[in-house]
Each structure stands twice: as structure tokens, then as C-alpha cells.
Symmetry: D3
Subunit: 247 residues, 6 copies
Amino acid sequence: MIVKNTHEISDELLEELKLVSVSTASHMLVEMGYRNAYMQGILPMCFPEGQDSAVGRAVTLRFIPLREDLVMQQYESLTESPHREALESIRQNDVLVIDTGGHMETGVFGDIFTRRLRYLGGQAIVVDGCIRDLIRIKAVNFPVFSKGVHGSAIPRSLMSVGFNEPIRCGGVGVVPGDIILADRDGVVAIPPQCVEHIIKVSREHDELEERWIKLKLDEGASLHTHYPPNAEARQEFEQWKKENGFV
Amino acid sequence: MIVKNTHEISDELLEELKLVSVSTASHMLVEMGYRNAYMQGILPMCFPEGQDSAVGRAVTLRFIPLREDLVMQQYESLTESPHREALESIRQNDVLVIDTGGHMETGVFGDIFTRRLRYLGGQAIVVDGCIRDLIRIKAVNFPVFSKGVHGSAIPRSLMSVGFNEPIRCGGVGVVPGDIILADRDGVVAIPPQCVEHIIKVSREHDELEERWIKLKLDEGASLHTHYPPNAEARQEFEQWKKENGFV
Amino acid sequence: MIVKNTHEISDELLEELKLVSVSTASHMLVEMGYRNAYMQGILPMCFPEGQDSAVGRAVTLRFIPLREDLVMQQYESLTESPHREALESIRQNDVLVIDTGGHMETGVFGDIFTRRLRYLGGQAIVVDGCIRDLIRIKAVNFPVFSKGVHGSAIPRSLMSVGFNEPIRCGGVGVVPGDIILADRDGVVAIPPQCVEHIIKVSREHDELEERWIKLKLDEGASLHTHYPPNAEARQEFEQWKKENGFV
Amino acid sequence: MIVKNTHEISDELLEELKLVSVSTASHMLVEMGYRNAYMQGILPMCFPEGQDSAVGRAVTLRFIPLREDLVMQQYESLTESPHREALESIRQNDVLVIDTGGHMETGVFGDIFTRRLRYLGGQAIVVDGCIRDLIRIKAVNFPVFSKGVHGSAIPRSLMSVGFNEPIRCGGVGVVPGDIILADRDGVVAIPPQCVEHIIKVSREHDELEERWIKLKLDEGASLHTHYPPNAEARQEFEQWKKENGFV
Amino acid sequence: MIVKNTHEISDELLEELKLVSVSTASHMLVEMGYRNAYMQGILPMCFPEGQDSAVGRAVTLRFIPLREDLVMQQYESLTESPHREALESIRQNDVLVIDTGGHMETGVFGDIFTRRLRYLGGQAIVVDGCIRDLIRIKAVNFPVFSKGVHGSAIPRSLMSVGFNEPIRCGGVGVVPGDIILADRDGVVAIPPQCVEHIIKVSREHDELEERWIKLKLDEGASLHTHYPPNAEARQEFEQWKKENGFV
Amino acid sequence: MIVKNTHEISDELLEELKLVSVSTASHMLVEMGYRNAYMQGILPMCFPEGQDSAVGRAVTLRFIPLREDLVMQQYESLTESPHREALESIRQNDVLVIDTGGHMETGVFGDIFTRRLRYLGGQAIVVDGCIRDLIRIKAVNFPVFSKGVHGSAIPRSLMSVGFNEPIRCGGVGVVPGDIILADRDGVVAIPPQCVEHIIKVSREHDELEERWIKLKLDEGASLHTHYPPNAEARQEFEQWKKENGFV
């Protein structure tokens, strides 16, 4: 397969990425030349209180509209069904990303599958379509993102056809091994080689500049001079950093 | 009229149906050959805390885009206005289901109508379009489902043309007397003759099997062996049932 | 039924209405206070060459998503099926207007039904959804308007539930007896009591003013002075009318 | 510019307008002949608890899809960038209303801009598109309305082209100086000359009639007789007003 | 891969299938239990005059939104680019079916690729998205079906990721080896094992019954008695067949 | 205004640009870094037979949803109405580009305005919405592009608010003075400074390379070697050029 990730990143970096917001990462990726990383219209249906973000490596799964004869095989040989294979392949720090073609006419994930994914160490589920049984998913209390909810299940209209292929999700191309970052603002797919830079720049951005600018804004500083800071304001900022113990 | 329900069910069965989730009923109906029962995109705008589900018999109401001359009659003779007739016809354990043609450009139900419907014994309101005055509807604290909210009222663009006809709502054909089941996952229209079977099967499903499988999943059981259970797992399940006092 | 037409117009007036364009009638109706008469997105799929417009009285038909058990009755007792009843009820100078709820997932009218409608004196078919078998409909060479084409037929997803009710079509409320005017620009539903005025005004508009203004535009007249004509231009127009034998 | 507001209203009237609900104002405007005042699909993304409504004078801002060469100028000369100019122009009791053409593919407002707007006395932000960084906007705790959320920022796909022009927002024409009223039901743009009438009528409506009708509905009064009240009910209402100390 | 076709059909059968219309095949497939075979909204952009239909075996190709780094490889190693591989793999009587996820923001096929496909014996191109350079495609004069036209080319927003996988196209699951039938009414994907039955039934249907019914309709026969024919009409039909030399 | 074109091009270059296709220009602009130049979904409603393309300088016009009181002024003082001003300002080789916000609920241009624009030397009309009276526009036989057709006219729902501002049309930012190129494939807005390069490159592309590659494809050349040409094929091409008199 010609379209694949070659870079891998450690669990430690994944942990550090949790401090970056989806919004910051999405904007930074545009600046790095990746304009299509934020998944449009895919929102948290369930997100545990007290948790700030979910991070993991993308395992992908793809559904197409079912064909009535071929779908039978998936229910005769469960171990060969791509969606069950995908689910059972989940390892610590994976995120399952599902391409249904934006299909809103059935749900593809409920609480049983969510519970199994959590047990295997999965960090989140992201669906370009609908989930089902939101009430019971909320009882599992696990990060689940989708475009909507539908009461019916896979056999109503879909069949799974493959996993760990490059897929489409929320208008974004997602390649197995992409780093998925998800929080209450939605989901962004990060090319693995970009993670380190994002963590580094975002730390500077979030911990220093943003903190200081908000302070200044609350004192009445104008965007014209302070955001981004002009030469004078930048001096002021450096001074403030020294005085407040930031290197 | 050739399209009508002939089966009726008792208030007792309605009461038992409250224990079934919309998600379970929707999936079961697909398995019974009714693939179009869950209303797509119709979500709870208001649902009382502490209440788990709303159940009732469908009374239907239909709106079309208004014609400026004909709509006057509805306001001259209020007792003949179909939407007022429909509302005043509500009896204990009815649910009002409204077809606006998916119109998102005005609201058709506010707090006054909701209050009257509750007084008459109605159990829920379901709109294939918009409601209005959500703030005051929340003060009534009654189950109301719709596609969205709009500030304006019926006279902006719609007129009612009939009630207790077969209608369309959320992509579902709804026939007067259908049994409406609604919870936080949305709304499903159940052909009356299916209610008893759904209650029976769902009870087995919900009370025993699902409880046990979740237990097993939390112990690390694989979907390949335990969902659905293979021969061995099924034995294990029967054993567990005996040991835990389920017949 | 509270929503109904009370005015009737003669076949002679229908004949005269054929000289008015859909565009002129639509605009005139807005000026008369009927802002919702042109059917949005419903275009000619087939329109006989050499014919300029189609005119007739609306017979309405309504479909909803099928319910698997109820639809069987329509095929057991064909004479009671609303869509067959509607079709067989067609008389000279009727137009069949069909509400499918904007459903694009199956076709509701093919060449056989079209042929029958033509035989009975129908003037056009207007569908808020899809037709099927466009190739063979073109062989019938009859005015058919819809939102699109779909290969499948009614039993794929719809069932008819009633005819000669007020319906919705292309965002327009259509009441039985409305006068339908259709040409290559689309379809407009005219309240019967408005027909006479439209014919009268449009004749003045089309035969005199428009002819003259085009002449003037081709000579370089400015919109500022000539469209609509200011006092001076109006004099010029009256003069021109006299010289050219218009009263 | 031919399209502009000429009427101005005082801060005191703005304060009184806070007692009117969006729903009431929207309906009243339709009755006054303004059928297009409620912004469709623009909902509160953030609204401070304990606050009932936000009111202010519209300052408008317009974005178009960026052109790669022209957008550079906006980042070279920040003080001339229309979106920064618009923001810095905000005065006490202004509301910023933003036309992105309904663009859902990037966010145009985050927490920094929101913080500045609040400092300058702005009352709300209304976007016909997406905002970003909802988490941090919620920390600012300020009324922000939009169609959705997107992680990326303006430079992904938009550029600002002007402010204080007439714009389109949520299907509504918004003219600078329009009075914006926003609550949990959405946003309505009120022509300034209508404010006084709306306050007056709504007070009668809300404080007296509605209170009494709800009382009657809870006692079982029928819509047929009591909403709107017929002659007899109206007498009853006048009596009740006297007895309860309403003039 | 669990989802695959196992049945193959001869070039002779493909030839016979050309006599069946898309409309007839789509309806017949619904009756055979395949409700999802007609591709919704995919219409002929170019279809040679004088040709009635195009038939062939599906070769599939899938695009996802491009990732800026990964797409470079496709242009460095052209022979490994999935869309070029797919195209060069075309053999006599293949049809190329392309899944772009319904993407309308760039064109994926122009006249050069079309010309190559024709040379290799391809019978048609079907795109769930846009083609480009329609003017030059029309000069090639080859059957091309899509949802629309866009001026830009693949590198604007897409990259190919695989070929001869099961895909989605026009809401239909398409599996390599499906038999594609396309005419002026659109495109239908036929499971290979169904082809023979469709040819057989459609021949009876088209050549005899339909011919006779049209004759009867033109003589004034009612749908109630003649479509479908009741017992008496069926006798009449058998008689007519004998008299007209149909066995 | 910060967003404006500074480059101007001669009528001679406009003439040369007519030889470039919309498809070629759109693709070339993406390669030059302008990814948003082709107007999505805006197609020729009328295009004179025998004419290959239309080219001109953009004059822009913007509509918003009407406000009932403000729109009156436009009809009282016609010379100040922005849409009439825009139209009367048209000079030789202008193209009128109209932003309605993608509004499909009324038509903004009919045959009278088209006739005037043609008289003044306009080259085409491009509407991000609907035109009306297509039948009569076809009688004018002038290049008109839009998203659709609607029978009603401006006063149904829109009012013009300004001309020669930067606008949005078909998802493209259009700035006054942009060079509009339109043919049967649609419309592209070209930044003026790019025109010369596009003409130059496209000439090489169209007149030589494309001609030769089609020749080779018809002889069976593979895309792998000949499109784009590898080193060997390029030599072959140079040889062919010499032999056929291309420099």
C-alpha cells in the first residue's frame, strides 16, 4: 500500500499530547501545511467528566451499504467479520476511527462494543456517522464521537469491508497510525511526525503567551498592539516572563 | 382509508413497554422485518429528569406551507382548525406526532399547547420540524422531540390541513394508533401488533443476557466467543443463570 | 375539510392561461400577496417539443414511507390503492400533483401510468420526488416534472395514503382544484380565483410593455428611465402604442 | 448606502428589551410584517448561567473565501484587517454579527477575541458559521451563538472584507444598528423602530394574559374557549385582573 | 477479504444484458431482495448518441481527502499510484467505478484518462463525485456518469488509496466483479449471480407484456383491470400472444 | 478597502484567454497556489451555440434577505438601487457576478436585465443562486450561469445592498476586477496577475503536449510511460514536435 505512515511515536509523547487542545493542534497543522486535519461535524456524544482529552493511534474500520447476500457471511463467520476483527485487534492506546461514508441511517457502535474496546486499552471511538444506545454508552462513560445517534444497528443497512486501510472521516483522510487527539471541541487527526513539534510549540503558546495576553486583555490592551504583540509589547512580555519565573 | 391499524393494545402493555429502550425496539423491529421505525434526526428538546421513557398511541397532525387566503379560515373558526382539533382530541396515553414536511423555518408548538396536551393526558409531542419557546417548554417539563427550534410561530409559513391521517415523520410512516416509544435516544413508531413480542424478547435480552455479557466483558471475554455466545459460552451462561436465581 | 378551494374556472380560461409564462405568473402572484406559488427545484424531465405550456386543475396524491405489513393491502386490492384510484379519477384538463415528502430514493411514476393519464385527458404530472423510466416516458412524449430520476419503483420504499387532500409539493401548499401552470421554467400553483386577473394583467404586460421595452433596450435605453418607464418614457410608450395600432 | 437604519434607541430601551423572549419578539415581528427576523440554526454555544438574555446594537462583519495573495495584506497590516477593525470598534452595548456565508469549514472566533469584545462592552457574538476553542470560550463565560464548532482558525479558508455593511446571518438580513436580542432559544434581529412596540405589547402579553391562561389551562380550560379567549373568557380575564391587582 | 463476488458471467451474457433497461433491472432487483442497487444521483454526463446502454464488470477505485505529505509519493512513483494502477488494469468489458466519498470539490476524471480507458476495452466510467473537462470528454464520446462537474483535478483535494476493494457509490455497495448496467436513466450494480434471471424475466416483461399493455392502454383499458392484468385480461393476453406469433 | 486587485490587463489578453478552457485554468491555478478559483455548482443555463467561452472583468453585486421597510426605498429611488446601479455601470468586457448567499428561493435576473447588460458590452452573468424566465433569456441568447431557476423575482425575498465589493460566489471569493472565464464546464475567477502565465502555459499544454498525447493514447501508449511523459517519451515528443513544425 502506497499510502501509509512510517513514523511511530512513543506512549510518553501521547501522554504529553494530552495537554494540547484540539483547537490549538488544528490551527498549528494548518500553519504546518496540513489544512485538512480537523474532523468537521464530529462531536462528543459521551465524554467522561474530569477527563480533558483522549489521545491514541488510529485503527481504522470501513463500512459500505450492505449487499443482502454478502452480509450473511459476516454473521456466519463472526471471527472474519471486519468490524469484529478490528475491535479485537485494539491494543493499549489505540483509537478506533470508523468510516461509514457519512451514513446517518443506522448506528454502528453501541455499549457492548464500547465496553470491549475500553477493556482492551482503547482510548476513544470516532464515527463518521451514527452510534446507537447513547444512554447505555453514557453508563460506560467513555469518549465516543459521532455525527449523530440512530436507534437501529449495523444489519439495518451497512456491512464492514476492511480495517486498517486509509479511510475518510469527517472530511479528513485518516491513515492507520495517525495520532488522534479528541476533546470537547471535536477530533483532529495528526500525522505522527508532526506530534513532537505540536507539543513543543503549543507549550510555549499555551503556557506563556496566551496566559500573558489574557492578562493584558483584561487590563484593556488592544489587539492592534498586543495580539500578536508588536515590538514594544514583545519587550513587555519578555520582561513579564523574567519577573514571573518563566525562562 | 386503506392504510390503518387494526390492532389495539391495553394501557397495561403500554406501561410494560416503558422498560424497553428505543435502541432495543428499533433493532428488534428491523429483525422483525420493519426496517423503517426509528425517526431519524428527531431528538429530545425537553425530557424530564428522572423519567426514563415516554409511551403512547399516535395521534397525527399534518401541516403544509400556508396559502395566504385559505389560512384565514383557520383563525376565523378556531374550533375547525385541524391543529386545535387534534390537540383537543388528545386522550389519556396519546402522543401527538406532527408532520411539517421537515420544515425548519417556523416553530409549530410552544408551551401553551404543551401545557394543554399534558392536562389532557398526552405523553409526548414529536415534531418533524421545529418547536418554539424552548425555555418555557422546559418550564412545563414535558417530553418534547423535534428536529430543531425556531422563534416564529405557525402563521409565519404553515397551516394545518388534517389530523389522524397517516403521515411522515423523521423518514418514518406513522399511522394513527401506532405505538410511540421515546427516550433520550430518540423516537420509534411501533406497529401495535408488534408490541407484545418486543416486550417479551427485550425482557429476556435486557434482564439476563446483557447483564451477564457485560460482566464477562469486564472480565476480559472476547466478542469472538461471548457476543453472541458460542456453544461453550452459552453453557456457561445457563450455569450462571441457575446460580443467580434466573429461571 | 377546512382547507379547500371554492372557486372554479372554465376550460376556456385554462386555454387562455396557456399564453402566460410560469415566470410572469409567479411574480404576479407574489405581488398579489401569494408568495409561495412557484415549486422550487421541480423541473421538466420531459416536455414535448412544440408545446409551450401545460395547464390544468390539480388532482393530488400523497405517499409516505411504506410500512411493510400495511403496504400489502395495496397490492391485494388494487382498486383501493390510493395511487391507482387517483390515476383512474383523472378527467379532461386535470394535472396530477404528487407529494412524496421530497423522497429521492425511489421513482413513483413511469411510462405505463403516464400513458394512462394522457389517455384520460390529463395535462401533466408533477412529482415532489423522483420519476422512473425516463427513457420510456420520453417515448410517451408528455409533460412530466420532478426533482430527479430513480430506477426503482414505488414498492422499494413508499406507499400511497390518500388523494385529493391538500399536499406539499416543491415547498408549495397545493390544494385540489388549484390551477397548475407548467412550462420549461417549472411549475406554479395558482389559486383559482387569481387566474382571471393574471391573464388580464399578463396580456397587457406581455403584449405591449415588454415588446416595447425590448425594442427600446436594443436602441440603448437605460433602465433608469425606461424600466419601469418614468413619466416621459410612459408618454413615449403611449405614443408608440397609438402609432402601432395597440389601443 | 441606500440600505441603512435611521432610527436609534436608548440604552434604557435596550435594558427593557431584556425582559422580552426571542420567541415572543420573533412572532410579534411576523405580525408586524417582518417575517424574516429570527436567525435559523444559530444556537447558543456558550451562555452564562443566571443570565436570561443578551441585547445590543448590531456591528456587522463579513468574510469571504480567502484569496491566497490578498489575504497576506491582512496579516501585514493588522490595523487595517477588517475583522480586527470591527472588533476594536466595539462600544458599550454592541453585538458583533458575523457573515461567513454559512461556511462550516473553519472557526472565526475564539476566546482571545471574545475576551477583548467583552472588555469593550460588547454584549454577544453571533456567527453564521463556526466558532473555535469552545472550551476556552466557556471559560470566558460570554454569550456566543453560532451554527457549529471547528478547530481551525480564519487563515484556513476565509478573509474578512468589510464591517458595518448590511449582511446576511442565519437567513436574515442584518443592517448595522439593528437591535439584536438573544437568549437560549436563539437570536432575533429587530428593526430599531420596532423595539418600543415590542416591549409594550410583550409586557401585556407576558405579564398578564399568559400568566392567566396558564392558570386556566392547569384548571382544564379548553383552547377552543380560552386561547385566544372568546368573549366570555375575556370577561373572566378582566375580572381576574381586577381581583389580582393588575390595572 | 470476506466481502467478494464468487460468481462470474460470460461476455455473451453481458451482451444480452444490454437489452434490459436500468429501470427494469433496478425494480427487479428490489423484488429479488436487493433493495440497494440503483445509484442515486449519478447521471450521464456524456453518453454516445445511438448507443442504448453500457455494460461491464466493475473495477473499483477509492479516493480519500489528500494528506499533503503522503500524496507526494503518488506523484513520485506514478506506477504505484492506485488510480493509475486501476486504470492500467482495465480489460475488455470492464467498467471503472470510483468512490470519492461523494466529494463535489474537485474532478477526478478527464478526457485523457477516459481515452486510455476506452483504448483498453473499458465500457464506462462511474464516479460518486465530479468529473472534469466535460467538453473534451464529449469529444471522446464515451459513457461517463457522475454527480457533477468541477474544473479542478485530483491534486486539489484527493488522493487515491486502493483499487478493487468493495466501495460505496451513489449509496450502493459495489464489489469488484459486480455487473454494471448503465443507460440514460442512470446506473445499477447487479450481483453477478442475478444477471441470468434478470435477462430472462425482463425479456418476457419487455417483449410481450409491456408491448401488449401499452396497446391496451392506448385503447382505453383501465389500470384496475389490465395493469397488472386480472384473470380475464390475462386470458385476453394469452389469446393475443397466440394470434401475434409469440409462444 | 484592503481587499482589492491592483493589476489590470488589456482587452487583447482577455481575447487570448478565450482559447484557454475553464478546466485547464482551474487546474493551473491550483498549481500556482490558488486552490479556490472554480465556482462549484454554477452551470451554464444559457450559452450561445457556436461560442466557445466568455471572458471579462468582474463587476460584483450583492443581495441579502430583504427587510420589508428598507426594501421600499429601492423601489422609490430606482437610480440608487444597487442592482440597477451595478447594471448601468457595466462597460465593454465586464462580467456581472452576483452573490445572493446561495439563495435558491427567488430569481434575480431575467431577460430584460440580460438584454440591457448585453447592450452595454457585458460578456456574461454569473449568479450564486437562481435566475428567472429562462425561456426568454434563451431568446436573448447570452451566456448566463447560475445554480438554478426560480419563477419569482427579486422582491419576493431579496434586496441588493452594494456593488463592486469583494463577494462570495460558488464558494469562491470574487474581487472586482477579477478575470472571469466561463465555458460549458462552468466558471473560474482568475486573479488578474495570473492571466498572462495561464495563457502562456496553457498554449504549450493545449497546442502541443495534449495533442501529441492523445495521438499516442489512441496508438495504445500507457499512462505509466506517457502521461506525464517519462524521459524516453519526452525525447519522442521533442522529435515529434520537430517533425511536425512546432518550435
